[in-house]
Structure formats: C-alpha cells, structure tokens
Amino acid sequence: MNSWSGRRLREGAVTFAALALVFIVIAVVIETALGRSDSRIATEFMLIASMVVAIQAYVGNSGLISFGHVAFYAIAAYVAGLAAMSPSDKERITPDLPAWLMQLEAGLPAAVGLALLAVLIFAVFTGVPFSRMNASVVSAATLALLVLVHSVINLWNGVTHGPLGLVGVPDLVNTWVVLGTSLIVVAGALIYRASPWGLKLQAVRENEVAAAALGIPVAKMRFVGWVVSALLMALAGSVWALNSLAFAPSMFYFTDTFAMLAMLVVGGLGSVSGAVVGAAIITVLSELLRGLEGGLDVGGVSVPELPGIVQLATAGLILIVLIARPRGLFGNQEIGGLRPRHFALGRGRS
C-alpha cells in the first residue's frame, strides 16, 4: 500500500525528459532569437504552463475541480512582490504593512520562500474543511475561496494598494530562473503522481467507496494533494510576480482561472503532459485571436471590434473537446507512457 509506482516513475522520467527538452528549447530561443515582446509571451507561457501543471497535481489526481488555485497564485504574487520591493516604494503605496515587512528588501530566494510559507499556511487552513466536503460542494467552495481572496486583495488598500495593484517590483528573474522553476514544478507533479500519496488519491478519484473500504484515508489524501498542489502553484506564482514587475487584483480572477482550467481540460485532466500541451494550444489560439479583440484592418477590409472573442473561442473549444473527447487529448496518459499502438501510423507500419 505504501510503495511507489515503478511504472509511473519510469514513464515520469521519460515524460520529464521530453517536457524539459521543450522548455529548454524555448528558453534558448528566448535568449538567442526572440525580440522583447515575443520573449515576454514565451516566458509567460513557461510560467502559465507551470501553473496549469500545479493545478493538475490536485485536480488531476483527485478528480475534484478547483476554482481556487488562482487565489494561491495571487497570495504568492503579492507576498513575493511585497517582500522584494524597496522600503521607500512600500512606504509610498502600502503604508499599513507591518514594520518587519516594510523594512525587508528580500532577494529571490527569500521572496519565494516567504511566498511559499504564506501559501502553505493558507492551504493548510483551507485544506482541512475542503478535504471533508463532498465532491460537488468542493467546486462551489473553491469558487467562494477565489471570490473571498480577490475581494480582500481588492479592498485592503493599505497593504495591497487596492485595485491599482503593486508597482515597482524589482526584476529578480531571468530566463534561466523561469526555466528552472518550470522544471521543478513539472518534476514535482510527476513525482507526486507516482508517489504513494498520489496513487492513493487516484484510487479515491476512481472509486471513493472502494478506496475507503481498502483503508485509504480519503480526506487525508485529498488534503495532501491540495497542499502539494498549492505549493507548486505558489512557486510558479511568486516567480511570475518577480518577472512581471507590476500587477493588479484583476489579473488574479476569473479570466485567468478560466484560461488555466481550459488548458487543463483540453489537454486532459489526468496528465502532466496534457497540462503543458493544453497550455500551448490555448496560448497559441489566444495570441492569434487577440488582435481581433480591438478590431483591425486586413487589406482594406476593417474587422469590427470583437470584445471577448478569445474567451468565446476558448469556451467553444472546451465544449467541443468535452463532447468529442470527455477526458481531453491525453486523458490519463503521459508522453512517457505512450506506445507505438497509440499512433495510427505506427500500427500501419508494423
């Protein structure tokens, strides 16, 4: 009962190698070939894909939907940002900070460490009640959590600078730090998936009653998944903050929650590879359509403004994928677990 899954570890190693290769190629391209705005999109992609992988660690292994992970992201971003900002900036825009945080001007490790600690405490407090709720209640409760955290950040002017958000967060992150973060998060999610805790949570996902009858502590395993996933989210979220320099509460609400969940659904909930591939598909789709939102002229034909076209297309894509393939592109499979029979071509040749 307490052993690791050898198969998942072997698959995980191959999957890690494949995904790491993709991320390394992206990082090298950013450093050598891309201009400012393209390299921003590519860096952002690596961090968003990491967050989707972090959400996957909970949602994929437990089969429970969380709308609340963006709340972890928000807390991590604000704590890391506030820890790293210079005291003079903080006295100007966030005068009600406690003295120790006001005086602090943390470097990268300390800022990320504080963010992880804050999210850990928050995840433990919320994880206890959430782990005991039944499956359909959890999704509503996590939605409530997102609204709660967003409204507090939005209103707590003296500490968060309210709706205007933080400005003047120092740039402590380069492409290699982003790459390292993505690799840690992907490795973390793959290791958790093969671990005894991950396996037990997957058993609960498949059949809660049977799992409980085998002596698996259901609530405890859900709690572990919630906390592991929150910490991975906090790691990616805090690095994101130190890369973004300025952010506001509106960036941690529905649009992002929905975009990340869409990436997960399209890629397949049960798969870390799926999370990354889904993130890639939705990012490419959004970038292609974003030009349309403000309206544009194509060869003399003017396309009118289409507000929210990205969201409309993403929602449509989700609906189509769900109806055609309810488990997403990858389902519960990892790249490392695919055999030639999974490819139509491979079967034809052999």
Partner: protein, 297 residues
Amino acid sequence: MSPELLIQQFVNALSIGSIYALLALGLAVVFSVLGLLNFAYGEILTITAYAIVLLVGAGVPLAIAAVIGVIAGIGMSLLTEVVAFRPLRKAPAYAVVFSSFAVSLIVQSLIRNVISPRPQGLAVPGWLDGVLTLGSIRIPVLAIITIVIAVLAMVALTSVLQGTKQGLAMRAAAEDFQTTRLMGAKAGRLILLAFAVSGTLAGIAGVLWILRTGSASPDMGFTPLLQAFVAVVLGGMGSLRGAVLGGFALAFVEVALQVFLPSAIVPYVQAITLLVVIAVLYFRPQGFAKKIEERVA
C-alpha cells in the same frame, strides 16, 4: 438601534432572502435530480434581465416584458440541458462542470459582442420606488412585491410537487433517481422538467433582481450564481426545503453584518459572509438541513 430600524432591516433581509431562496431552489431542483451543479445558472437571470431591458426599451409594458423575460429564462435553462448536460450524461462529473461553465462564458461573450459590453439601464416605473409608511416605519413597495411574488412562486411549486404525478416523480427522483426510473418515470422527460422548473424559478428571481438593481450587464449572472451556491451548500445539497432555509439564512447573515459591523469593515461583507459559510461547512460538511431530514427519516 431603534425598533423601527430593526423592523425595516428585518423586512429588507426578508425580501433579499426570498430572492436568494428562489435562486437556491432553482439550482437545487436540478442538483437533486442529476447530482450536478449548473454553472450556467446565473445566465438564466442574465437572459431574463436583457429580455426585459430590451422589451421595455421598445415600449412593451413592464408586466408583459417580465412574463416574456421569464419564458426566455426557461428557454435558456432548457438550452443549457441540451447543449451542456445531455451530451455528457455518461462523462465524469467534472466534465459537466466545465461544459456548463463554458456555456455561461459563451452567453456572456455573445452579449458583449451582439448587444454591448456596457451595462444597460432599465427605466423602472416610479411607483416601484415608492415607500409605504406605517407610523414611523418605512417599507419600500418593491420589498413587499418581492416577498409576495417569491412566496407565491414557492407555494405554486409546492402544490405542483405535492399535487401532480410529475411532481411526485420529481420528489422521488430527488430521493433516488435510479429507483424512480425503475418505477417507470421517463428519465429524459424528468430531467427536462427539472430544468424547466429551474428556469422558471431563476427567471422570476431575475425579474426581481433587475427591478432591484435597475441594470443588466454581461457578467451580472455571477453574483446570483454564487449566492445560490452558498445557499444550497448551507442548506444541505439537494434538499429543496434546505435550499429555501439556506437562502434566508444567507440573507440574514449579510444584512446583520451590514447593520452591526463598523462602517470601515462593511466593504468586506461579502468576504466575511463567505468566511462564515466556510466555517459552517467546517463544523457541518453536509450543511444544516441534512441533519433534520435524517432525524425525520
């Protein structure tokens, strides 16, 4: 606080509570049959509200616009079943959460593109803004209308559930859907009926909501969706009586926090309410009503 003010706030809580109760009831009707939450539920109110705003803007009297608005709401509810629920009957529960969520976003995007991203105001007739004065107590006309309409709707629903064969089938389905099917109830028709009832209740709530707020916006459905979730969760998922209780409980907590908290904290009322709800769920993961039902049974 003076007794007059206390009575006024009590009526206020009662009127907000009756809207929440309707909302919760509509969400619970579908949940009790399918065991799934409809994340496109708020869009029923949105559609109703937009129908009313557009019709009143075109010169249609408010009462007729309201009726058409409710019918449009029922249409939205049935459409959700056909598009987001029916194709995924055999899929895992999370797939339906996402598909209904996707429908909700599609409706919002379409309204943004076809009508306008900006809120649309409704010219509410003057008499609705009136205030009744009983001695030193002042009660808004709209509060009374809200309570009366909501109570009538709930009485009508109860008599349908208690008095008709379809109502009996729905109550049975809420207890045990599989057994109800074995007894000969047609599953597809029963589910469609549940969505129709859900759409009616949400549509009526939508009429009361737009009269209260006076404007319709593309994402207006979110707040009522969240309130309905909270009320249903508080009331013990799937229990219809619990949903009504949960709706009133939520309204009384909200109004009490607004009245008794120092004014500096009032903007945080929504956050505190959600915190109270999570605290309640900590001690009673099944909500209030489950306990009562188990005792009866």
